[in-house]
């Protein structure tokens, strides 16, 4: 590590607020653009699976009826 202590790394000789702030804001933005499609795919897939199951059970019910 370039810094002597954790406190030094946090302070960054007075520029700590800027540096850590910039990194955390960037990571929040990255986190959200990453999370959005992942969550959306998850809900979409769940919907498709549910639909498939519903169709399947409807088919089975029809077969049973006939």
């Amino acid at each position: 590590m370039y810094f002597d202590s954790v406190a030094d790394a946090l302070a960054m000789s007075g520029h700590g607020v800027f540096v850590w702030g910039a990194y955390s804001i960037s990571f929040v933005i990255i986190f959200f653009v990453l999370l959005r499609p992942v969550m959306s795919i998850r809900t979409l897939n769940a919907g498709i699976r549910q639909e498939a199951l519903r169709k399947q059970s409807a088919q089975v019910a029809q077969q049973n009826a006939s």
Binding site: V19, S26, V33, I41
Partner: protein
Amino acid sequence: MWRIIHQFGSPPWVYRFCDKVIPWLMPITIVALLGGSVWGLLFAPTDYKQGDSYRIIYIHVPAAVVALAGYYVMALAGLVSLVWRVKLADTAMRAAAPIGAAYTAIALITGAIWGKPTWGAWWVWDARITSMLILFFLYVGVIALFEAYENKTVAARACAILSLVGTVNIPIIYKSVDWWYSLHQPASIKFTGSSAIDASMLYPLLGMIITFYALFALLMMLNLKQSLTEEYAQSAWLNKRLAA
């Protein structure tokens, strides 16, 4: 050659490709992102003039570089969709816009934060900052135009035209604003001659630039996969794949 192009135009193939690549690209990118940040934040040496505030470079420069490259990716997809009417190019263009907007936002915000300790101002109407801001509006414009149309095929074509108009304008905007006012330092990384940046700082920077490109690719694939899942929810191939 034609087979490859044909494959890129085939939604099931692209879906499968994304499905295969995402599971290993995602962890690699996240680890590289965290590792690169730790390297830049804690292990890279401090700068002789700017002190530690220069460490923002490891986020700021990669984001800015990829944000600009992303616009050309979007415009290229737009061109392909206009000329060859490839439906997947539409989807790719739509996938690129929010990522580009996010990258531009990161570049702008980190730039503002970096500007305060270095230049003494949060915001200066410098050429590159102003062009970046306009780039952000161009991205937002594409997203808004896409949302405005009911018919998504038409929307994609409108966006393609808009992004092509933007491509002509980006160099003009950059040049005009540069002519108007410039404060930014010249480029530090040079491909010819020696870089003006020390090796101990260059390697983490290059690493972060590659990581941001990888992140762009990952996000593109995620967005593509999401759009494909949405569009082809009723199709047999997708249902089969999900059932497996």
